[in-house]
């Protein structure tokens, strides 16, 4: 293995390790679980509207703040060199289009039976833009698989509101358990204890 390859391998290893530990805090699991619970409840009550979309997706707006306040002080922060290829930018642009489609179709949705469109667009949009933000191409596989499962599930009618609520509930419980474990494993240590 030549020097350039070994550097790339090490950088990928560091990024992968940082990315995986970065998401051990359970925050994304809690937020995604909450989204699924709200979607499930809305479907159950036949009440899909922009308000329910806001209640479901609104907490995602706090994702960055939660990471900044909870995770970064405990795991530390590193700025990686972001070599974003053209394909990653293209994926991000596609994600932006999906998000726009989600917003537009969500505004004009009139019937609960058409919710699959906006939700699928939103999930694809979030997942695709995550590839751009993280520069981590591996997310693309999940970006395609998870919404596909959602669409196929409703298409084949094996997904029910109760199942979605239950899945969301389980995700939230798992996320909370991960968060508690994370807080115990990574206490904040003030740098003034150190000599630097």
């Amino acid at each position: 293995m030549n020097t350039i390859d070994s550097h790339k391998k090490l950088e990928t290893e560091l990024k992968k390790r940082a990315f995986l530990t970065f998401h051990n805090d359970g925050i994304i699991d809690i937020l995604m679980g909450w989204d699924l619970v709200v979607i499930g409840v809305s479907l159950y009550l036949h009440n899909m509207s922009p308000l329910t979309a806001f209640i479901g997706l609104g907490p995602l707006l706090f994702y960055g703040l939660l990471k900044y306040e909870i995770t970064l002080p405990r795991l530390g922060h590193a700025q990686f060199r972001m070599h974003r290829s053209f394909s990653v930018w293209l994926i991000g642009a596609v994600g932006g289009v999906f998000l726009l489609a989600a917003v537009i179709s969500g505004i004009f949705i009139r019937s609960s039976s058409w919710f699959v469109g906006p939700i699928s667009f939103a999930l694809m949009g979030i997942a695709f833009t995550m590839v751009l933000i993280t520069g981590f191409n591996r997310i693309l596989a999940y970006a395609i698989l998870i919404p596909l499962f959602f669409i196929v599930g409703f298409g084949l009618k094996f997904l029910s509101p109760e199942m979605i609520m239950a899945t969301g509930g389980i995700l939230m419980v798992v996320g909370i358990w991960m968060l508690v474990k994370f807080l115990r494993t990574h206490p904040i240590q003030a740098e003034e204890d150190d000599l630097v």
Partner: protein, 114 residues
């Protein structure tokens, strides 16, 4: 002395010239991590290198003294945070160390092979 013997002596003498600042497991770990990121804070380096906070702190000071890294201290929510970055001088020193070690290892392998 044969040509081969004098070539081997050159490589043995090269060992004396190895950068002793970098030639330490702790500092080498730190520099390798910093070479792969733009900058990193103290906590990230603790978790990535596996060094204790005191050990990391002492080694960072040593690296800063010779100009291989810079340390920027700031306050975030009234908590101090140090961001550490490898300097150009540090990167050159690391590359030079890598080249020297490679030369020595190649000579050793060649010697073992003969």
């Amino acid at each position: 002395m044969s040509k081969k013997d004098s070539a081997n002596n050159v490589h043995i003498e090269k060992i004396d010239e190895i950068d002793q600042i970098i030639h330490s497991p702790s500092r080498l770990k730190i520099l390798i991590v910093l070479a792969e990121v733009v900058k990193a804070d103290f906590t990230f380096l603790v978790l990535t290198t596996g060094l204790t906070r005191g050990n990391l702190s002492a080694n960072l000071r040593k690296l800063e003294e010779v100009g291989y890294i810079t340390i920027e201290k700031s306050f975030v929510n009234r908590v101090s945070r140090s961001m550490i970055q490898l300097t150009d001088h540090g990167m050159m020193a690391l590359k030079s160390y890598q080249a020297d070690m490679q030369m020595i290892i190649d000579a050793l392998l060649s010697e073992l092979g003969s």
